[in-house]
């Protein structure tokens, strides 16, 4: 399975990706999604497998890296590490930062490896099922993906739906792919080819975060001292092994659903850990189970989110949307045919994720203290540098200055979206799925001779539509239950 990885080049890529992912995860505001988008143009110099290995190792290590800052400065390096702050920081304040980070490292590794196993077994099964899918089924599946994203993602479901629809709308800019008629181009030639993914994602994540950081300059972080990361004691293992396994399962399952993978998974993993705990009163005060529950779940979501990405071409999270873009720009079309025609390529990805989980365990265990020092780089130095890389990376893909302006526009837009409670992740997923949604809808209507009701005669499509309705009704039921 790992044969393609035993080349020195791929191992170097893997080690670099893991280290880079850890650095991105440690730095609040960056993270694997922004980092992946920033590095995407650089991957053009690599072969497809090396490029995807680089992106997936950044994904795995970046998700774990968020825990280091969550424990030491009470600020999640990535949104997925938000739940880790709840117990990681209080435990660190008690002088047990090493123990907290040790548990975060072990549970992240177990969660990550568990999810790769799920990926290895589940993705081919899903890909096999996808052979049954025609255009109407893919349309229904994409709609299901977007409604799931709206309903179990962070924030207001309606705002998420608006953001998702906006993402799809962006994908309609340019020449209509079926008739070559210009849409929303306003006579600007550069817009005829549409709006690229990279300017939008770098703008929405990196530039909008830069603007957010400009509003937080007076924020002061209190750092907890760390001597060394300690492996959990036997008592800690006895206390947490069930939690780690449960959260690994939860995280993998949540990851498979198209949503904000790790963030939602860690919150559910944490709350389930509390529900099953014999000492729920300790949660929020430095519970070791709380750290294990959150960290196993968010890392387990990485493998889970790769399942629909590879098997169906539907991204399971924002970072997998970046990975999906990487696959597409390298000429690899995800879906059932990928499993039949390029199994070595897939095994390379599976193996890379497995090794990345082991590598971040080693780097995290021995280097957490060093990585924590990266947060000492002041924002007034760091963000102008990130801006320079963002601008050059965005420019490099099609060597167009218009792309840089589009990036700045989406940066400002993303800032205001986040300020008013609109998540930017659905925009990215909408943009990725836009062509699929419109293309499959229009082709289905050709098949159905314009009769919309024919969608209801396709059992798989009908199932996805019903699931979409349930997904939309879920937040309403949840808020009613909360009021009661």
């Amino acid at each position: 399975m790992m044969a393609p990885l035993f080349t020195s080049k791929l191992l170097i890529v893997l080690i670099f990706g893991t280290l880079f992912g850890l650095i991105l995860g440690v730095l609040p505001g960056l993270g694997p999604t922004t980092g992946g988008a920033l590095i995407l143009p650089f991957t053009m110099t690599l072969d497809p497998l090396s490029a995807i290995v680089l992106l997936t190792s950044i994904y795995c290590a970046g998700t774990y890296g968020g825990a280091i800052t969550a424990v030491l400065i009470n600020t999640p390096g990535t949104p997925a590490a938000a739940a880790t702050c709840l117990d990681g920081y209080p435990l660190a304040q008690k002088g047990e930062a090493g123990r907290a980070l040790g548990m975060a490292t072990v549970s992240s590794t177990v969660g990550g490896i568990f999810s790769v196993i799920v990926l290895v077994f589940f993705a081919p099964v899903l890909a096999q099922l996808a052979y049954e899918f025609g255009q109407p089924e893919y349309f229904a599946l994409a709609i299901f993906g977007l409604t799931m994203l709206a309903s179990i993602g962070e924030g207001s479901p309606i705002k998420n739906l608006i953001a998702g629809a906006f993402g799809i709308l962006i994908s309609t800019i340019g020449k209509d792919f079926m008739t070559s008629i210009d849409r929303f181009t306003y006579g600007i030639n550069e817009l005829s080819v549409g709006i690229g993914f990279i300017p939008v994602v770098v703008g929405l994540f990196a530039i909008s975060e830069m603007l957010t950081q400009s509003t937080l300059l007076d924020q002061v972080f209190k750092r907890v001292a760390l001597k060394a990361v300690k492996l959990p004691s036997l008592d800690d293992y006895k206390k947490t092994w069930k939690t780690i396994l449960r959260s690994s399962g939860i995280g993998s399952f949540i990851g498979v659903l198209p949503a904000e993978g790790g963030t939602v998974a860690s919150l559910i993993g944490y709350s389930e850990a509390k529900r099953f705990s014999k000492e729920p009163e300790e949660f929020g005060k430095g519970s070791i189970e709380g750290i294990a529950g959150a960290e196993a779940a968010n890392n387990a979501a990485t493998g889970g989110a790769m399942v629909p990405t590879l098997a169906l071409g539907i991204p399971g999270s924002a970072t997998t949307a970046v990975i999906l873009t990487g696959l597409i720009i390298h000429g690899v079309r995800p879906g059932p045919d990928l499993f039949r025609e390029q199994p070595d390529f897939l095994y390379g990805i599976f193996g890379a994720m497995l090794i990345a989980n082991v590598l971040f365990f080693i780097f995290g265990f021995f280097g957490a203290k060093l990585f924590a020092r990266i947060t000492l780089v002041p924002n007034k130095i760091l963000w102008p540098m990130i801006f320079a890389v963002s601008v050059c990376g965005t420019y490099s893909l099609s060597q167009s200055i218009i792309d840089v302006w589009i990036m700045l526009f989406f940066g400002v837009l993303g800032f205001f979206m986040r300020r008013f409670g609109f998540s930017v992740v659905p925009v990215i997923i909408g943009l990725i799925l836009g062509e699929l949604v419109e293309g499959t809808l229009r082709q289905s209507l050709v098949i159905f001779d314009g009769n919309w009701l024919m969608f209801l005669t396709r059992p798989i499509a009908l199932t996805f539509f019903i699931l979409s309705l349930i997904a939309l009704a879920f937040p309403l039921l949840r808020s009613k239950k909360r009021k009661k």
Binding site: I181, D182, L217, F420
Partner: protein, 168 residues
């Protein structure tokens, strides 16, 4: 008496058009309306070539959906008003200004000069006053980025007063 009157005035809620909920609602509806009107200008495909629906139909549907959902969130905000956001600080506006400067300089003078100016401007306004660090972010780092993209990735940057010194 005056104090009581002033207090009442202070407690009186803002007019609806000053509230975030209305501003967001207005901007989305306004932009969507303009885009919706634009869709009516799209060329139509003759029936014999038309596959499924006209190219304008899908974006029209999306825009109507966005407008409908925006109306719903605005309606819901009467019951549950949004969290009031803090006023934006000065560095935010200066960062936006730096973006505008970047666009102007990159268009008229030089791409890398624009990056340098923005980096120094942002770093200085975010509180960095030490010359060495300003030079690091404004000159040394963009130079490293330029060399990396130009030599390793083989990228050609747009011509400009500084970039031309290297190219010619």
């Amino acid at each position: 008496m005056n104090n009581v009157r002033n207090k009442k005035r202070a407690n009186k809620s803002l007019p609806f058009f000053f509230k975030d909920e209305f501003k967001v609602f207005f901007v989305i509806i306004f932009v969507s309306t303009i885009l919706l009107v634009t869709t009516f200008t799209f060329d139509k495909v003759p029936p014999i070539l038309n596959r499924g629906i006209q190219p304008a139909t899908f974006p029209k549907g999306l825009l109507v959906l966005i407008m409908f959902l925006t109306a719903v969130i605005y309606y819901l905000s009467f019951k549950n008003p949004w969290k009031k956001e803090k006023k934006l600080p000065k560095p935010f506006f200066l960062t936006i200004l730096s973006f505008i400067l970047f666009i102007i300089i990159s268009k008229t003078l030089d791409f890398f000069l624009a990056i340098s100016v923005l980096s120094i401007f942002v770093s200085y306004n975010w509180g960095e006053k030490r010359i060495f660090y300003l030079l690091l972010v404004g000159i040394l780092f963009p130079l490293v980025v330029f060399i990396f993209f130009e030599m390793i990735l083989g990228l050609r940057f747009p011509p400009g007063i500084i970039t031309n010194l290297y190219y010619y």
